[in-house]
Every structure is written in structure tokens, then in C-alpha cells.
């Protein structure tokens, strides 16, 4: 019973916002806006505890005054302790929900969405004495949840800052580094299809976006 009450309390804001969407005035004023932009992404707090850097792009299509959609693609690389590299290719979409201001200089948002990704971890030949495994790759799907804000520098341009946690469901690839008799051993292991696992990372994104016009 306590869980049920907690569940209802958590859903309350959604109910309030749903009422607002039913108002006839101004709800379609901002809709139809098409935006195009590029972005940089920092990936952290993943399974390897290293920092990744990414480049990507996105377009946005605003559905209503309070709801926007973002369709993105990212390429992220990560140095795994100088012994391996990890490449992540993301393609996906997010729904952006504006709970507070819908226009003005700062427009904060909550986002949630889905993503498909390809990951490859490859060993690096270093000058150190190491033993390495072969490269491994996987395809997986992911879901993400985050917050951010647009900074509308002008009516036609914004800079957006966002942070989102992305959790992947699929075969796990992880690296282990051992050292025996001054020889480092890098193990790149991939879990089988029968045992999919969850693996997550935190993504910090800065993007610049141009409002190109209304589609409808």
C-alpha cells in the first residue's frame, strides 16, 4: 500500500502537466519548429572509470509547447588505462519535456528516450610488457533519462547543456587488467547472449542548435 501511494505521488506532476496540455490557447504556437545542431559529449562513470570524448549531431522537432523531440547520433572514444580503446556509436531519440518556462533565455528540460549502439573494445600495442586479448564488439539497446537547459542566445539559436544517464541492455564487454611478474595482462571479455546485463554511463552534452523554421 505504501508503495502504491508513493507511486501515485510520483505521478502527480505528470497529471498536472497533462491538464495544461488540454488548454486550447497557445499549445500549438511553438510546435513544428525544426532545429539542427552539433554537439560534444563527455562520457564518464562507466564500467572502466575512464573519461570518453564524443562528437555528434542532432535535429529537434517540437511537438507542442511543452514537448520537444531530439534525434541524435554520437561517436565516443575512450582510452582504457592506456592499454585499450573503446569506441561507442550511438543513434537514438529523446523526448524533452519543459516543466517550467517554455520560452525565455533559460528553458530547463527533462528528457527520456531510447538509443541503439555499437561498441568495440580494441587492445593497444604499447612499449610496456603486456599480454592482451583480441578485440571484442557488441550491439545493444539503451534507455536514457536526464535533465538540462537551453540557453536561448537569440530567437534563432540556442546552446543546450544536458546531463543524462544511459543504461545499456545487451552483452556485456568489460576489461580487466592484472599484473604478474612485471607483465600486465589485459583481458577483454564479452558475456554471452544468454546472460544480458545492464551497463550504464553518465553523458554530459553541450550542443549548439539553429532554429531553421516551422514544418507545420
Amino acid at each position: 500500500m505504501r508503495n502504491f501511494i508513493l507511486f501515485i505521488v510520483l505521478l502527480t506532476p505528470v497529471i498536472f502537466y497533462a491538464q495544461e496540455e488540454m488548454r486550447p490557447s497557445n499549445t500549438t504556437k511553438a510546435s513544428g519548429m525544426f532545429e539542427l545542431g552539433v554537439r560534444s559529449t563527455i562520457s564518464g562513470f562507466g564500467s572502466t572509470n575512464n573519461i570518453g570524448t564524443g562528437f555528434g549531431g542532432q535535429f529537434r522537432l517540437r511537438i507542442s509547447k511543452r514537448i520537444n523531440t531530439e534525434w541524435f547520433a554520437d561517436f565516443i572514444t575512450e582510452d582504457i588505462d592506456g592499454l585499450a580503446k573503446r569506441n561507442d556509436y550511438h543513434i537514438g531519440w529523446s523526448v524533452m519535456f519543459y516543466p517550467f518556462a517554455t520560452e525565455g533565455k533559460f528553458v530547463p528540460y527533462i528528457l527520456a528516450g531510447h538509443c541503439f549502439d555499437y561498441t568495440k573494445v580494441s587492445p593497444v600495442r604499447t612499449n610496456e610488457n603486456i599480454i592482451v586479448d583480441e578485440a571484442q564488439s557488441r550491439l545493444s539497446s539503451a534507455t536514457q533519462l536526464g535533465i538540462g537547459t537551453h540557453f536561448n542566445a537569440t530567437d534563432y539559436f540556442d546552446v543546450s547543456f544536458g546531463v543524462q544517464y544511459m543504461v545499456h541492455l545487451g552483452n556485456d564487454i568489460h576489461t580487466d587488467i592484472d599484473e604478474h611478474n612485471r607483465t600486465k595482462e589485459l583481458h577483454i571479455e564479452k558475456e554471452s547472449h544468454s546472460n544480458p546485463v545492464l551497463e550504464g554511463h553518465l553523458l554530459f552534452t553541450v550542443s549548439v542548435n539553429f532554429k531553421l523554421g516551422k514544418i507545420w
Binding site: S40, T53, F75, T77, D79, V124, T154, F157, V208, F210
Partner: protein, 197 residues
């Protein structure tokens, strides 16, 4: 004395151009340039030399969309064999009442990179192996100014800071760099009608 005269002669075109009163910076302005750029790798204390060019479109007098290309020519210490870079993003232009156009910008980018596994130090002869070629994401900020001397030409000084890392089958190489380029650029406005400045 001779040096001072040369400097005055060198800046003479600026004085002449500054007599033109119309403001060139406006919505619809397109500018492009090609020049030589030089950069200092921050973690390796090495110098890179590039051929560089960019294309910029002012969607408003304060905001422009901009793309840059850097074609890698040379690295003094031979740590990098290839380091070609592409950037795209936007610049914010600080408002002035004349044709001086200071700006700051943000441009994500990508590099096509290839390194040597063991950089040569001085005249030391070391057998070198090239790494595999790889694509490296970059984060970049720009700061600089344009001076629109006429409807068709401008002078520019462009500074850039780049953050990135070349990851391949050999040791990683930091691509963190500060870069500067300057020279003469070309511009025209695609929205202004003929005969109207």
C-alpha cells in the same frame, strides 16, 4: 626609422578602409578564408602546421554558423603523421557600432589521426612504426576578431583551443592544442540588394 615607416605603410590600408562608414556585419553575411595555421600541442610541447580554411554564415548580426577545415602539413617532432581536422559549430559576435567584429564560439569536431609509435627526439635515429589511422572526436572553443575593411574583404585573427585524444593500436597521443591563424578573408552579403550597403 625604416622599420617604423614599414609599419605605417603596412597599416595604411586600415586607415583608408576605416573611412567607409557602412556597417558590413549583418544578417546574410558570408565570409570565407584560407590561410596557414600553427598550433602548439599542450601535452607534448610540439608545433603543428596546418593549411586551414573556413566558411561562415551570419544568421543574425550576432550569431553565425561556421565550419572549419585544417589540413595537417607538419609536426616538428614527428609524433603525429596525420592530424587533419574538421569542425562545425557556431560563433557569438559581440555587438559593436563599427566593422570591428570580436567573437567567441564553440565547435565540436573530428580528427583523422595517425601517430608514430616512438617519437624521434632531436637527431636520434629510431625505427618508427605508424599506428592505424583513426577518427578522434574533438571539443573546441574559438576566440578572435574580424575587421571588415570593405564590402568584400576583411582581416582576421583567430585563436582556438582543442581538446582530444588520438586512440589507435599504439600508444595514445594527446591532441590538446592551442592554435592561431590570421590573414585576409573574403565576404559578401547574400541577402542585401544591389546598390544598398
Amino acid at each position: 626609422m625604416v622599420k617604423q615607416i614599414v609599419i605605417i605603410l603596412f597599416f595604411m590600408p586600415l586607415f583608408l578602409f576605416s573611412q567607409e562608414e557602412s556597417r558590413v556585419i549583418d544578417k546574410g553575411l558570408v565570409r570565407f578564408q584560407g590561410t596557414i595555421g600553427m598550433g602548439k600541442l599542450l601535452n607534448l610541447n610540439e608545433t603543428n602546421i596546418f593549411l586551414t580554411g573556413n566558411l561562415e554564415y551570419y544568421i543574425q548580426s550576432l550569431i553565425s554558423a561556421r565550419g572549419d577545415v585544417y589540413y595537417f602539413l607538419k609536426n616538428d617532432e614527428n609524433s603525429l603523421k596525420q592530424n587533419h581536422q574538421l569542425f562545425s559549430g557556431a560563433s557569438y559576435h559581440i555587438k559593436t557600432n563599427n566593422n570591428f567584429d570580436p567573437y567567441i564560439g564553440f565547435q565540436p569536431g573530428m580528427a583523422l589521426t595517425q601517430s608514430f609509435n616512438s617519437p624521434r627526439k632531436g637527431n636520434e635515429s629510431v625505427q618508427q612504426f605508424s599506428s592505424s589511422t583513426s577518427y578522434s572526436p574533438l571539443i573546441s572553443g574559438v576566440v578572435g576578431f574580424n575587421y571588415y575593411a570593405s564590402k568584400w574583404f576583411h582581416l582576421f585573427v583567430d585563436g582556438r583551443i582543442v581538446q582530444g585524444r588520438h586512440l589507435s593500436n599504439f600508444n595514445a597521443v594527446s591532441l590538446n592544442e592551442v592554435r592561431i591563424s590570421f590573414g585576409l578573408g573574403f565576404n559578401f552579403n547574400v541577402l542585401k540588394k544591389k546598390g544598398k550597403n
